[in-house]
């Protein structure tokens, strides 16, 4: 295991280095630079432009700049943003990354679970109107043009029904009157922690009740589902009542982007799970399980769905990269100030340090999630574990 991990980290490091090299030179190959953009005004003398170039180090040859950048990067210094001078890139990324992570992690987890559960049931109860219509919906969600779909979601929920805000991370008018010392990011991080602790309690509860007898297990599961919810509610109602209003505002803004990304990812997962399940149901070991007189639920969940999950999990690995890059589109449409929007803005104004920082973090996240998915696969499939 340790040997495997060591090897994987070395591979990941080499991949990252190659990725950084390619992206740096591609970024640099864009015509012009930020000095041109800052001095568009004809009143500014050309000498000023040269001064900015020298100040930012843009007069040095690209190879030299690249080597210096890489050297600093692995010392932990990602440089200073050109466009938001003099904010350090690390500070900007630390502010934006949680927003993107929350958006995509929650969308991935919800869509994966929902796709798994519904695909499983659809394949098991084959035929009928429900299966046909669900499959149709799945195909539509899977093939829909993302920007159009996101706009339609905004129209439906923000304009027509007027249930949710159409975009952005928070409501500026509300936050204008916020008392001194309340920062959006602090509130957001606190929200993340409360949800993570609640999830942890829930998972521990589910694991803990696994060994109990069936009657106790039901109660135990119910309790371990309800207690975290109540805990979170009580925490925000009483312990942090001062900022709960602002947390509620962020939460409202979070719903629509998460829902949109979830729906788009859900279609593919559900279709894949359904097909995979249909294939698994034809396997000999399903017939064996039926011959053993196992109850239907055990055959469906323990024998069929567990095996059908394997290709769906592989599909998840492949979709990680594309969903992160697709995030740029989603974040732009919802004006969600995450990493994708940061990257887009930085690339447009030739803010090389910020764009490189955002791209590198995206790359590291993709590599890490691939690693997690691979380790998860080894847990799911003993044939991988023992070879």
């Amino acid at each position: 295991m340790w040997k495997f991990l060591g090897k994987r980290f070395l591979q990941m490091f080499i991949t990252l280095l190659m990725f950084q090299t390619v992206t740096y030179f591609l970024m640099d190959a864009q015509p012009g630079d930020i000095a041109d953009l800052l001095t568009l005004n004809p009143d500014i003398p050309p000498a000023e432009r040269e001064r900015i170039r020298v100040d930012l180090g843009l007069d040095r040859p690209p190879a030299e700049r690249f080597l210096k950048y890489i050297g600093n990067f692995y010392k932990g210094d990602l440089g200073v943003s050109f466009s938001q001078f003099p904010r350090p890139v690390t500070e900007i990324i630390l502010e934006r990354l949680p927003r993107t992570l929350v958006l995509f992690l929650s969308a991935s987890v919800i869509s994966f679970w929902a796709g798994y559960a519904s695909g499983k049931v659809l394949a098991w109860k084959r035929g009928g109107v429900i299966e046909y219509s669900s499959t149709l919906v799945g195909v539509i969600l899977y093939t829909v043009f993302t920007p159009w779909f996101a706009l339609m979601m905004i129209w439906l929920f923000a304009v027509y029904l007027d249930w949710l805000p159409p975009g952005k991370f928070l409501d500026p008018i509300l936050w204008l009157t916020a008392p001194e010392g309340i920062h959006a990011n602090d509130v957001f991080v606190r929200m993340i922690w409360s949800v993570m602790i609640a999830t942890g309690v829930m998972i521990l509860g589910l694991i803990g009740t696994q060994r109990l007898s069936s009657q106790l297990r039901k109660t135990g599961r119910w309790v371990s589902f309800v207690v975290p919810f109540i805990g979170v509610f009580l925490y925000w109602r009483f312990a942090s009542s001062g900022i709960s209003l602002y947390a509620w505002d962020i939460l409202q803004h979070l719903v629509l982007p998460v829902l949109t990304v979830t729906l788009i990812a859900y279609g593919g997962t559900m279709l894949l799970m359904r097909t995979s399940m249909l294939e698994t149901l034809r396997e000999d070991y399903i017939l064996t399980a039926r011959a053993k007189g196992m109850p239907e639920k055990i055959i469906r969940d323990k024998h069929a769905a567990r095996n059908a999950l394997l290709p769906v999990w592989t599909g998840l690995v492949f979709s990680i990269g594309s969903s992160l890059s697709g995030g740029i589109i989603t974040e732009t449409i919802f004006s969600w100030p995450g990493l994708g929007l940061t990257l887009l803005n930085a690339a447009q104004v030739e803010d090389i340090p910020l764009a490189m920082g955002a791209l590198t973090v995206t790359g590291v996240m993709t590599l890490l999630s691939h690693l997690v998915a691979d380790i998860g696969y080894a847990f799911l499939d003993p044939r991988i574990r023992f070879s």
Binding site: D284, T288, A291, G293, M294, R383, F386
Partner: protein, 323 residues
């Protein structure tokens, strides 16, 4: 408790296809006594496996049992719902499948797959007792109990087959159906496993239905043999009778189509023609188009499956080839 652990009376099972019903099992009648091993032999597509899955009621959606009864310990299981049938599956009647290589779930350990059935049907067993029982079963089928926590893909083909047999024995069934259990194995492993099966069957005094296309395999393990042709049981008698005094022309042809090592050397005879299409089986006796003794009556009327000598049943108008 009666003598017969399994009684099949006039069992008729059809597959409903778009082209019409396929007459897979048609009016099959036989019984198995407690502790007795019988064989079912026939070429592929004659309905052997269809009988097996009918006995456990593991039918695909398009298959219907139209007629007849299947009595397990005197209870007719044909009208039972799937849920009610679950009480009989594995507890009373278990099965070793044709494709034993894939009949274990790849993501669970062998021990878990055996224990799962025991938890379902023998809930009174403690974990300790269950583990001991699995050790005992592993020894019985000739596997090292230390291997029980391994996964199916870590076993060789022969080991997997043994594990599947151990699994079939786990709930002490009254009768086991073994559907071509050794077909995918090489001859040496096949022989070792057949020997083990026969020993276990005698040791535990368990009834067994052995299904194979290989008449040599059948001869080795069974006391009585039923011969199937085109969805019908055409002859049934003691193994001795079937091999030395067959009376149905199809059995006679079958017997002369494989060589005997010790007996006199005779020319091997192959049977002309093809087995009939079960969508449109021939009228009268289904064997008549290929039968050298067929006469007018064979073409028009189906022969009854009746006793020609003591315990020797056959469905033929001209038993023994006499006109």
């Amino acid at each position: 408790m009666t003598e017969n652990v399994l009684e099949v009376n006039d069992l008729t099972m059809h597959y409903m296809t778009r082209k019409g019903p396929v007459f897979a099992v048609d009016g099959v009648t036989f019984h198995v006594k407690r502790g007795e091993a019988i064989g079912l032999v026939g070429e592929s597509g004659c309905g052997k496996t269809s009988i097996a899955i009918s006995l456990l009621k593991l039918l695909p959606n398009n298959a219907k049992i139209l007629n007849g009864e299947i009595k397990i310990n005197d209870v007719d299981t044909v009208p039972l719902s799937d849920k009610e049938m679950n009480k009989y599956r594995w507890k009373n009647i278990s099965m070793v499948f044709q494709a034993a290589m894939n009949s274990m779930n790849p993501v669970y350990s062998v021990e878990e797959q055996i224990a799962e059935a025991m938890r379902e049907h023998m809930p009174h067993l403690s974990d300790q007792e269950m583990s001991e029982k699995i050790d005992y079963l592993f020894n019985l089928v000739g596997l090292d109990p230390a291997l029980k926590t391994q996964y199916p893909h870590q076993y060789s083909g022969g080991m997997r087959q043994r594990a599947v047999i151990a699994m079939a024995l786990s709930c002490d069934p009254d009768i086991i159906i073994a559907d071509e259990p050794t077909t995918a194995l090489d001859v040496i492993v096949q022989d070792a496993i057949l020997k083990r099966i026969r020993e276990i069957q005698e040791e535990l005094n368990m009834a067994m239905i052995y299904i194979s296309h290989d008449i040599a395999v059948i001869a080795e393990v069974s006391q009585r043999v039923g011969v199937m042709y085109a969805g019908k049981l055409v002859e049934m008698s003691s193994t001795e009778d079937i091999f030395h005094h067959p009376i149905h022309p199809y059995t006679m042809a079958l017997m002369s189509s494989f060589p005997s090592i010790v007996g006199e050397k005779t020319e091997l005879v192959t049977l002309a023609g093809e087995p009939p299409d079960l969508l449109n089986p021939p009228a009268g006796c289904r064997f008549h188009p290929r039968c050298p003794y067929a006469t007018e009556i064979c073409r028009e009327q189906e022969p009854d499956f009746k006793e020609h000598a003591v315990g020797h049943y056959a469905a033929c108008w001209h038993p023994g080839g006499v006109k």
